[in-house]
């Protein structure tokens, strides 16, 4: 059932606010969500897991993101806060997200004894990621060597309502003693810093401390964030800290702006938290995906949505989402095709304003893509495989692998499908939103320039067909291949859609089209040539078998039975060596299957099935992007059991990470893929014509799936299976 709704998302969830209203002043000014479907809990403390926990429990609002590090630190703590678009560049190395000062640092001593997890006994310790409210909670009961028991509770958030505010509140209660508490809440690192790329980042901090008589000691009376207090048995003491964060990217005077901002905020900490919580509530009402009957899948999907929402900022269209969002240093904050192909569909359907910012990032980096194409002797736009703030390609040229081999990295030059991926995201955005202004002002230009790239990149050969040689497809195990099916197929699509779009824009918006075609120097016959090239493209499709050959010569490679390596904990290229894997049919991630998925409506059903059945057993899933797409396609093909197995594998990439995959940040692309597997796979949501349709294949354990999505400006509600909500209401007493 796909029901159009008359207005925006409805309001809800008043119970938390009611509980918060009854809180005592000395308590934390909010309460955690109790529903296990909304929280992630880390009980106890395992030092070696700390980097993973910091990533999974990261908080963010798309403007800034902060890892869930312990405030007092540990031997393995790596606290970091990042601001989207703020990169540090050092000569000779790729730009990377610049960490700010650690605003969360807080060390406390009781009668001279530091309160730390590695000292004394931890009677209780848990961290709770409250995904519904976007708050990181901590609950800790600690007994020191002298037997003193201290109870500590804390919350931390990066405001979704006011992107520049970061909030931390801590309460301390001596359970069985009176003594002297010393708090050091100074930030570690400079509060004003200028990055290597010239951006000024300024943080201003305000703190206040409440004593046993509920008197506040304001920031001005704290000596550089340090405070000494006499603790009384059973009394609760509270520290509030608010940080305002501004950069020269958003204001000319970041230091002054931050100072004024924080002064206003410190007087109403509860109000700042309530507004933040309300913003998350509104976000969830638009973006939540409810699964009845499978709490594990429910939590995994909420985790995916939480981190995607934490990473996006609709107010800044000059930044995009890096492979690890703002949750860690891995991948340096670089943006890949992950954003356009794996994350964007979630935003397009549930948060179109954010999706617009992401596609506009590609528009703002078009100049760099043009420069890259020109440098390599092509026309149009060849987007960066890895990009940061400027859009220049910042792919590292080599890596020393842990077996000591120096491996040349060819993706920056050869993974050219990125240009078609960007175009695909642009087209999907416009199709789903009907944002004509975007299409006319930005989207068409991207489609034209990427089509131009393909028209100049493909070469007509003796067989009369256009070929692209020397590329890497999504399957990165095979490098410098000719006629990669995905690259050629997407290039062909890009050329056709660009031609179609120019015709459409010329017809519907002749004025802007004239200006654009003049500015870009488009000859009247150019779109026609794109169509010709598209028509004569070599695709590697075999009519007899219905198979696409992944690249020239693929079918002649060694067939290795992956079933012989089950169970397996390492990627196949590590086990077999790069050289051996390149001589084999084992692929890293869906390539032809990816093409089948993206161009689903163009593929006859038997072709979809034949290619999935051929390539799926040959996929080694060496990429975190792989399992979700297999889940999605298997679900669409009706193999629900296989789809469910892949879905669970995808869901575990971060959440079941006991092996360190997430230490450098969560896998934002895989999380976007997981959402797609549920919505575009199991729910079978499709947009073939003028209105959304669905062909569901839900896993047997999923009693129902329900969600909202926006299609061409109107909110719709999808509830599966049909009538599930009604049946549930009838069954409930």
């Amino acid at each position: 059932m796909v029901d159009p709704l008359s207005g925006g998302p409805p309001a809800g969830l008043p119970e938390l606010r009611a509980r918060q209203a009854s809180l005592h002043l000395a308590q934390l000014p909010a309460v955690p969500t109790g529903d296990p479907g909304w929280i992630l809990v880390e009980e106890g403390f395992t030092l070696a897991r700390e980097h993973e926990v910091e990533s999974l429990f990261a908080i963010g609002n798309g403007y800034a993101g902060s890892r869930g590090s312990l405030a007092e630190g540990s031997a393995l703590s790596a606290p970091a806060t990042f601001v989207a678009g703020v990169f540090d560049s050092k000569p000779g190395s790729a730009p990377e997200l610049a960490p700010t000062a650690d605003w969360t640092h807080l060390s406390t001593t009781i009668d001279g004894q530091p309160l730390r997890l590695d000292r004394g006994h931890n009677l209780e310790h848990r961290r709770i990621l409250d995904m519904r409210q976007g708050i990181l909670w901590r609950e800790w009961r600690h007994q020191d060597e002298a037997g003193r028991i201290t109870q500590l509770r804390a919350l931390r958030l990066v405001s979704l309502a006011d992107h520049h505010l970061l909030v931390q509140c801590v309460t301390i209660m001596p359970e069985n003693f009176s003594g002297r508490l010393f708090i050091d809440a100074t930030m570690t690192g400079p509060v004003v810093q200028v990055t290597g790329s010239g951006t000024t980042v300024a943080m201003a901090v305000a703190r206040r401390v409440m004593d046993h008589a509920e008197r506040w000691t304001p920031s001005t009376e704290l000596v550089e964030g340090r405070q000494s207090l006499e603790l009384r048995l059973g009394k609760t003491y509270r520290l509030d800290r608010i940080v305002a964060l501004h950069t020269s990217r958003d204001t000319r005077e970041p230091r002054e702006t931050a100072g004024k901002h924080v002064e206003r905020a410190i007087d109403d900490v509860a109000g700042v938290i309530a507004e933040h919580s309300d913003s998350w509530q509104a976000r969830w009402e638009a973006s939540d995906l409810r699964i009845e009957g499978d709490p594990t899948a429910q939590r995994a999907l909420r985790f995916a949505i939480y981190h995607l929402l934490s990473a996006v900022n609709p107010q800044d269209d000059r930044v995009s989402i890096g492979a690890r969002g703002l949750s860690g240093t891995a991948y340096k904050g670089h943006v890949f095709w992950d954003t356009d192909i794996f994350m964007l569909p979630f935003f397009i359907l549930t948060y179109p304003e954010a999706a617009r910012a992401l596609v506009m990032y590609r528009y703002h980096t078009l100049a760099a893509a043009r420069a890259k194409a020109a440098r390599l002797g092509y026309r149009g736009a060849f987007y960066a495989w890895e990009s940061a703030d400027s859009g220049e390609d910042v792919t590292p040229p080599f890596v020393v692998a842990p077996d000591g081999q120096v491996v040349q990295i060819l993706t920056g030059e050869q993974e050219q499908h990125i240009s078609a991926d960007v175009a695909f995201g642009v087209w999907n955005y416009w199709q789903a939103t009907g944002d004509d202004h975007f299409l006319v002002e930005a989207g068409t230009e991207i489609l034209i320039e990427t089509a131009r790239f393909w028209a100049s990149r493909a070469e007509r050969e003796e067989d009369g067909r256009y070929h692209i040689r020397g590329v890497i497809g999504p399957d990165e195990y095979h490098e410098t291949v000719d006629d990669n099916a995905y690259t050629n197929g997407m290039a062909q699509w890009n050329l056709e859609v660009a031609a179609e779009t120019t015709n459409l824009v010329a017809e519907r918006w002749p004025g802007p089209w004239q200006a654009l075609s003049h500015r870009l120097g488009i000859e009247p016959e150019e779109p026609h040539r794109w169509q010709q090239v598209a028509r004569d493209f070599y695709t590697g499709f075999d009519e007899q078998t219905g198979l696409f050959e992944q690249f020239r010569g693929y079918f002649g490679l060694e067939d290795i039975d992956l079933a012989a390596f089950v169970p397996r904990t390492a990627p196949m290229d590590v086990l077999l060596s790069r050289e051996r894997i390149q001589r084999s049919k084992i692929i890293k991630q869906p390539d032809v299957v990816m093409l089948v998925y993206l161009l689903w409506e163009r593929m006859p059903p038997e072709v979809r099935k034949a290619n999935f059945e051929y390539y799926e057993p040959r996929c080694g899933h060496g990429s975190s992007l792989s399992p979700a797409i297999h889940a999605l396609v298997a679900a669409r093909l009706g193999d629900t059991a296989l789809a469910e197995r892949y879905f669970r594998q995808a869901a575990e990439i971060d959440l079941a990470d006991s092996m360190g995959n997430a230490v450098g940040g969560i896998h934002a692309g895989a999380l976007g893929g997981l959402w797609q597997a549920a919505v575009l796979g199991f729910a079978g949501l499709r947009f073939c014509g003028e209105k959304p349709e669905h062909r569901a294949n839900l896993p047997p354990s999923w009693c129902s799936l329900s969600m909202r999505f926006q299609w061409r400006g109107q909110w719709h509600e999808l509830t599966l299976p049909e009538g599930a909500e009604r049946r549930k209401a009838e069954e409930d007493p």
Partner: protein
């Protein structure tokens, strides 16, 4: 604090003297005194031991020899309990036990020693020894990291390089919380491998302080012992350090046994 001691049991055979060059260098690095121990069936004066060793006896010049009567392993462990040595350095087996992976005495000492045991292949003879490269196989668990602390300290004091070899067990990851093994997904190797290497070192360092030690991580797969022996040869390893969970019976300790059987360099065994 009293001077550290390295216990060096000698059985009076010339083969056993192979432990001495290794013990001497380790003694210099650790600033430890060597405590030479001979256990025999009858009481034996230092001069009598010298006379049994003939020309090789000169290597004992300057050392005090502690001679005891009884079962060798029992006495060695008794002395170890008394003097609390930093480590025991001994030959893998006596001449009579040639071809065996471990002699009876070495086996018993290895099993019950209160400190790390360095086992020296007798075929080293009197060849001078140095410590430049220490090789450590590591399964990625925190308990192995903790067990390796004496080896890390030794390598740092000796200014040797620590080569940590992580051999992937492709079938099952370690169940111990906080374990780090080969990443299941390597999305982009140019980012993934430096991050993984850094994390491996960080996790090692947080339970086994590395100080200024030069550490290299090498990832391998296949049979752990075969990989260690291969790398040992390729990297000119001077000392292999093995963490052992103190279970000898098969199928346990397979790696330890293979390396004890095949390695040509001394092996330090530390217990987890």
């Amino acid at each position: 604090m009293s001077e550290p001691i390295i216990l060096v049991p000698l059985d009076g055979s010339k083969q056993a003297l192979a432990a001495l060059p290794v013990a001497k260098v380790l003694g210099e690095i650790e600033r430890a005194a060597l405590h030479i121990l001979h256990v025999g069936e009858h009481e034996l004066a230092g001069d009598e031991l010298r006379s049994r060793l003939g020309r090789e006896a000169s290597v004992l010049d300057g050392f005090t020899i502690d001679a005891r009567v009884g079962t060798p392993a029992v006495e060695i462990l008794q002395v170890a309990g008394e003097i609390k040595p930093r480590m025991i350095v001994m030959c893998k087996h006596s001449g009579a036990e040639r071809g065996k992976m471990l002699g009876r005495t070495a086996m018993k000492v290895l099993h019950d020693a209160p400190c790390p045991v360095v086992l020296v292949p007798p075929e080293r003879g009197a060849t001078p020894w140095h410590l430049h490269h220490v090789l450590v196989p590591h399964d990625g668990t925190p308990s192995t990291s903790a067990a390796l602390q004496p080896a890390a300290e030794l390598a740092e004091r000796g200014r040797a390089e620590l080569l940590v070899v992580h051999v992937t067990d492709i079938r099952a990851a370690p169940a111990e919380p906080g374990s780090l093994t080969t990443p299941r997904y390597v999305d982009q190797p140019q980012h993934e491998w430096p991050a993984w290497t850094s994390e491996f070192i960080n996790r090692l360092a947080c339970v086994c302080p590395l100080g200024h030690l030069h550490v290299r991580i090498v990832l391998a797969h296949g049979d752990t012992a075969a990989e260690v022996l291969r790398l040992c040869k390729r990297q000119s390893t001077d000392l292999i350090v093995l963490a052992w969970r103190k279970i000898w019976e098969a199928p346990h300790a397979a790696t330890l046994k293979d390396i004890l059987r095949e390695a040509h360099c001394p092996i330090m065994v530390v217990r987890t």
